[in-house]
Amino acid sequence: MDPKGKVRLSSTLYLTFLAARFSFVTAEPEDLTVPSERGSARNSAISKPHRSRGALALAALVGAGVLLAGCNLPAYGAHHGSTTQGHDTFKLWQGDVTAAIVVGLIVYGLIFWSVFRYRRKRSDNSMPRQFHDHPKLEIVYTIIPLIMVLVIFYFAVLTENNVDAVSSHPDLTVKVTAFQWGWKFHYLGKGVEVIGNTQHYPQMVLPVDQPVKIILVSADVVHGFYVPKFDFSRYAQPGVVNLFDLNVRHVGVYRGQCSEFCGLYHSEMIFSVKAIPDSQFPAWLAQARTTSPSHLLPGAPVTPVPPNVTPRLSTQVP
C-alpha cells in the first residue's frame, strides 16, 4: 500500500471511531434525563428520535470522514518533512491532529453546552435532580477512548518502524560527534571531516534521495541533533551510539541546532545540512578533501571553544 493510502485509511478509521462516539454522545446524555424511566422508555416512542438523531450524526460523520480522508489534510503548522522519514512522521501528525481536533471539539462542545445550558437562573432556588452515576454510560466512555488510543497507537508503531529503519548497506555513512559547543561530521571511508563551533557553524553536505546512515555520538554531555525541517531529532549521548537514516527528498539547505540543553552556549550550537544532487556529491567530496574553507577543517581535532568566547561572532545564518 502506498503511504498516501495508509494515511487515508488511518484518517478514515479515526473518523469512523469518532463518528461512533459522537452518535453515542448525542444520544446518551438525553438518556440521562430519564434514568429512572429508562427501562420502560427503551421501547417506547420517546427514545426513537434520539436514536435516529444518533444514526444521522453517525452517518454524517462517516461521510465527513471519508470526505476528509479523500482530501489532503492540513499541515497544522508543521514542516512537511524533507526526508522520507520526516514525511512519514508528518503524515502521522496530520492524522493524529485531526483526531485530536475532533475529540477536542466534542469535549469542548459538551463543556460549553453544560456551562451555557445549565446556568442557574437568578431567582431559581430549586434543586436539580440528584443523579449520581450511570454505569452503562461510564463503561461506554471508557471503552471508546480505549479503542481510539489503540488505533492511534497502531499507526504510531507503523510510522515509528519506518522512521527508525536503518539500511544495512548505505551508500554513505556519516559519524556525527556533538561537543560543547559544536559539531563534527566525519564521512566514514571518504577521508573528509567537517568541524564547526559557535564561531563557524558547520555544514553537513549530503546527496539527495540517497539513504545516508548517521552514527550519532557525543564527546561530553547530552546534546540533541535536531533539524526542524526533517521533523526529527535524536539525542547525542556519552556512552550511547545512536544510528538512524536520513533520506533527504529535496535539494536545499536545512538549518539544524542542538535541542537538548548542554551548557552555556547551547543556543549557539547551530549547524546546517545541505542536500545536493547525487551527481554533484563526488565532486563535493573531492573538493572537500583538497580545499579547506573556513568551515571545512579536514582532520582537525575536536577542540571545544573556551567558554569565555563571545558568542554569535558569526554572522552566518545557515
Binding site: Y76, H79, S114, Y118, M127, P128, T159, K229, S259
Partner: protein, 600 residues
Amino acid sequence: MTIQQERVEVLLPEEHPHHAEPTGLLKWMTSTDHKVIGKNYLYTSIAMFLLAGLMALVMRSQLVEPDNTLVSFQQYNELFTMHGSLMLYLFAGPFAFGGLANFIIPLQVGAPDMAFPRLNALSYWLYLSGCIIMLGGFFTTGGAADFGWVSYAPLSEATNSPGAGPDMWILAILLTGFSAIFTAVNLITTIFYLRAPGMTMFRMPIFTWGMLVTGILILLAFPVLSAAMVMLFADRHFGTHIFTVQGGGVPVLWQNLFWFFGHPEVYILALPYFGVVTEILPVFSKKPVFGYKGMVFATIAIAGLSTSVWAHHMFTTGVVLLPFFSLMSYLIAVPTGIKFFNWIGTMWRGHLSFKTPMLFAIGFLIVFLTGGLSGILLASPPIDFAVHDTYFVVAHFHQVLVGTAVFAGFGGFYYWYPKMTGRMMREPLGKAHFWTLMVGFWLTYVPMYALGLIGMPRREATYPAGLGWTLWNQISTVGAFLMGASFIFWLVNIWISWRNPIPAGSDPWEYGQSLEWFTTSPPPHHNYNKLPPIRSERPTWDYYHPEAPKVERNGKQVIPALVGASSGSPDASNGPGAAGNGRSGGGSNPPEGHEDGGPS
C-alpha cells in the same frame, strides 16, 4: 451501630486547655496544628510561585526580540533552571500536598489533626529550609544551578557545572524531597486511621481520594529522586563515577532514575488538583459528583499507569523500548477521559452558579483539555522525535501544569480561603483575576506551539532574526505579562479581605457537601465541636438540604438523601448541632470497623 457514638455530648471549645497557646509569630513558628502548618505551606509555596513567575517574566522579556542582551547566557540558564525548580519542586507539589491537603484533609475526614502533628511541623521546616537553600544559590560566586530542573548528567557533574550553587540545589531537592515523603506518610496515615465514624472509604471526598493516591505515588517516586541526588552528589564530591562514562558509569541511568521520579511527579502535581476540581464542580452545580466510583478507579488507574510511562521523556535517547512506553502513555488518556466525562456529567442538568472558584474549575477543564490532547500527540514516538525539546513541549506541559496548579490550584484557594480565614474574597476581583489569566494563558502558550512546530528549541538564551520566530515570541511575552498582571488582582483581593473582612459563615457557598463545610470558618482548635451523621460522600449537604430530591444511583435505585434504610434517622427537627460527636477533645476514636449498615 455508630449512632451511639455520633450522639456523644457536644464539647464546647471553651473547655479545652489547649487554647492557652502562643499567638503571633511564635504561634506560626511553634505550632503543630495542621491548619497553621497548612497556611505556612500555602503562603511559602505561593511566595515561591510569585518569585518563579517573576523569573519567567524576565525570560520572556529576554526573548521579546532576537539577539537580545537583557540577561547574559549564564543568567538566562540560571533563570530557567530556577524557574522550573521553584515551580515544580517548591510550588506545585507543596501547594497541593503541603498547603491545601494539610489544611483540608483532616477536616474532610473528620479528624482533629494530622496523624503525626510534629512530623508535619518537621516537614514544613525541612521544606522552608530547602526553599531558602535553593534560592541561596543565587548568592554564591558561581551563581545558582544552571543545568535545567532535570539536571541531566553529565552536564550536572562537577566538571561541567562546578560551584556551590549546584550543590545547594541538590541539597534543597533532598530536603524538600524528605519533606514531601513525611507529608505523604502523614496524609496516608491520617486518611486510613483518623476517619470519623461513618466515613467509609467510599464516602471520602474525591479530593481526599486524590491525596491518598498522591501520597502513595510520593512514596514511590521521591525516594528514587533522593537516591539519584545522593548519587549525583557522590559523583560531584566523593569521586564516584555513577553517571560519567570516563569512570565506567552510565549517563542514561540518570535520565531513567530522574524520570522514574519525574513522571509520577507529574501526576503528584495533577491528582490533587483533579481532586480540587471535583470538589468545586458539584458544589456550584448543586449536584453530587457524577460517577463517584469511576472517579476513584480512574485516579488509581492514572497512578498505576504513571509509574510505567517515564521513558516517554526519553523517546529520542534511542535506548528505550518505544512501543511499550508509547502504549502506556496512550492508556493514561483513558482514565483521564473518564474524569473529563464525569466532570461534564457533574455539571449536566445542574444549576450552575459561576462564582470565582467555579470559573477557575471550568477554566481548568478548558485549558487542561488542550494540554491533554497535545500530550496524546506527544505519546506517539515519531511525533515526539519531531518536536522533542522544542517549544511545542514547553507549551504542552505548561498548559497541563498551569491548568492544574494554577487554574485548579487557585480555584481551590478561592474555594477554601473562606474556610481557612473566615473571610470572603471579593467576587469582582476574583473574576477579573480569572479572565485576565485566561486571556494571558492562551496568548502565552498558543504561540509556543507554533514556535515549536517551526523549530525553536527550548532553553535558548536568545535566537537570531529571520527565522519567523520573533512575532510569536512577542505575542507570547505579552501573554506572559497579562498572566503576571492577573495576580495583582489576586493580591489586592487578599489585601482587601484582610483590611475589610466580610465574615464567611460555616458554609459560604451555601451548597457545601463535604465535611469541612459543617464546622466554623476558621475551624476551632481541634476542628469539630460536633459532626453530622455521615451517610454518604456529602454529609454536610445531607444535613442542611433535606429538601433536595432523592439521589438516583444506577438510574433506578432511589435512596433517602439523609440516611440509609437500616440505620436510625436523626430527626430533621433536631436541627444542626443536635447530632454531636465527641471528637473535638482530640481523643482518637477508632474509626475502623464502624459500618453503619447504610448503603454505600
